[in-house]
């Protein structure tokens, strides 16, 4: 699957089985600080990911 991490402006290509929440854990990203988007649709942390998924991890921290 392909994963784009917005805050780090970094794209990854990886093999992963599990939920969106467990992916964040593996990437050491606090789920409180991001939302996960698959094919432009927001998905909950409990969503089971598929091998061909195209994911974006968007930061919720902004402003000022």
């Amino acid at each position: 699957m392909r994963v784009y991490i917005e805050r780090e402006e970094k794209g990854l290509s990886l093999e992963f089985r599990g939920t969106a929440g467990s992916l964040l854990k593996r990437l050491k990203i606090n789920p409180e600080t991001v939302i996960v988007v698959r094919d432009d649709a927001l998905i909950p942390l409990e969503t089971r990911l598929k091998s061909g998924d195209d994911l974006k991890i968007l930061s919720v921290i902004s402003g000022g």
């Binding site: 409180e32 939302i35 909950p44 902004s62 000022g64």
Partner: protein
């Protein structure tokens, strides 16, 4: 996996898009009603940055009152120019009146220039000058609404506690300020919505906002407190809400202890606890750099 209220796909907290949006708006409406944030004939000015929080606040508030938007261009290169472009687009799309005032025009220097010349703490200078301009330009309005969310409030409460500054906490809460001729009351309609929930609302609504961070935020003590709270929230969900709820229980006592000081008026006409307001003191110092 289904929404807990219907058979649609969930987006967050076991709610589908439609029910999440509804739940969020209901919570804002409850906050407005519970704390009397808006009363009949209020004229509300929304302090707008072009970010997700103030955009969400202005969108929902416009269903409850007549609102206009005000934005302060501090002059943060590569950041504010982008958010202002988003804000102009949003205000045009939603038919909202927007006024923009800049540090450069009002004080002679951009925030970037002030920081470069003085080495002052950016968030402290920016906050002081922004508050001054907002209050000054809000004459004729009865309320200034901000996009402060539950994360912002929990951070402020904790920061004041860690710095032994409870008298500053006495000025927090869903509605602050004394409505006199010199001071416009502030309201925080997103008080019970977390930063993550607000991001989700804004994303689902498709608001034209960029989800980037002010480049100066990394300098702030607040960023450390924010990261610590997010760590605690992930371990123990509800931590931020508990901080805010327990603070609200304490707030009447804080107000009675610290809220009695008289507010006088500075020579510039703005409210101040001292003879000269912080902005006038800053401007005096800044003049030596011009």
């Amino acid at each position: 996996m289904r929404c807990r209220l219907c058979s649609a796909e969930p987006v967050h907290n076991s709610l589908c898009k439609r029910h999440f949006l509804k739940d969020f708006e209901k919570r804002v409406a409850w906050t407005i009603s519970r704390y009397g944030l808006i009363v009949k004939d209020d004229r509300v000015l929304v302090a707008s940055s072009g970010g997700k929080d103030s955009t969400t606040a202005s969108y929902i508030l416009s269903r409850h009152a007549k609102v206009d938007l005000i934005s302060i261009d501090e002059g943060i290169k590569g950041y504010r120019d982008k958010t202002l472009a988003d804000l102009k687009r949003y205000s045009k799309e939603h038919g909202l009146n927007l006024k923009i005032y800049s540090f450069k025009n009002e004080f002679g220097l951009t925030l970037d220039q002030i920081i470069k010349k003085t080495k002052w703490k950016p968030c402290s200078v920016c906050g002081t000058l922004r508050r001054y301009l907002l209050n000054r330009k809000a004459k004729g309005y009865t309320k200034i609404a901000t996009g402060h969310n539950m994360d912002d409030e929990a951070q402020s409460i904790l920061m004041n506690y860690l710095r032994n500054s409870l008298e500053i906490s006495a000025r927090l809460g869903p509605m602050t300020g004394i409505h006199r001729n010199v001071f416009v009351q502030r309201i925080k309609p997103l008080y019970f919505c977390t930063e993550k929930e607000t991001t989700i609302y804004s994303y689902l609504m498709g608001f034209p906002v960029s989800y980037n961070e002010c480049p100066y935020v990394a300098d702030a003590y607040r960023a450390g407190v924010r990261d610590m709270l997010n760590g605690l929230e992930a371990e123990e969900p509800g931590t931020k809400k508990n901080i805010v709820d327990s603070f609200l229980n304490l707030l009447p006592r804080l107000k009675s202890e610290f809220g009695k000081g008289d507010i006088s008026t500075c020579g510039c006409g703005e409210p101040s606890r001292n003879r000269a307001c912080n902005t006038c003191l800053l401007i005096r110092e800044m003049k030596s750099f011009l």
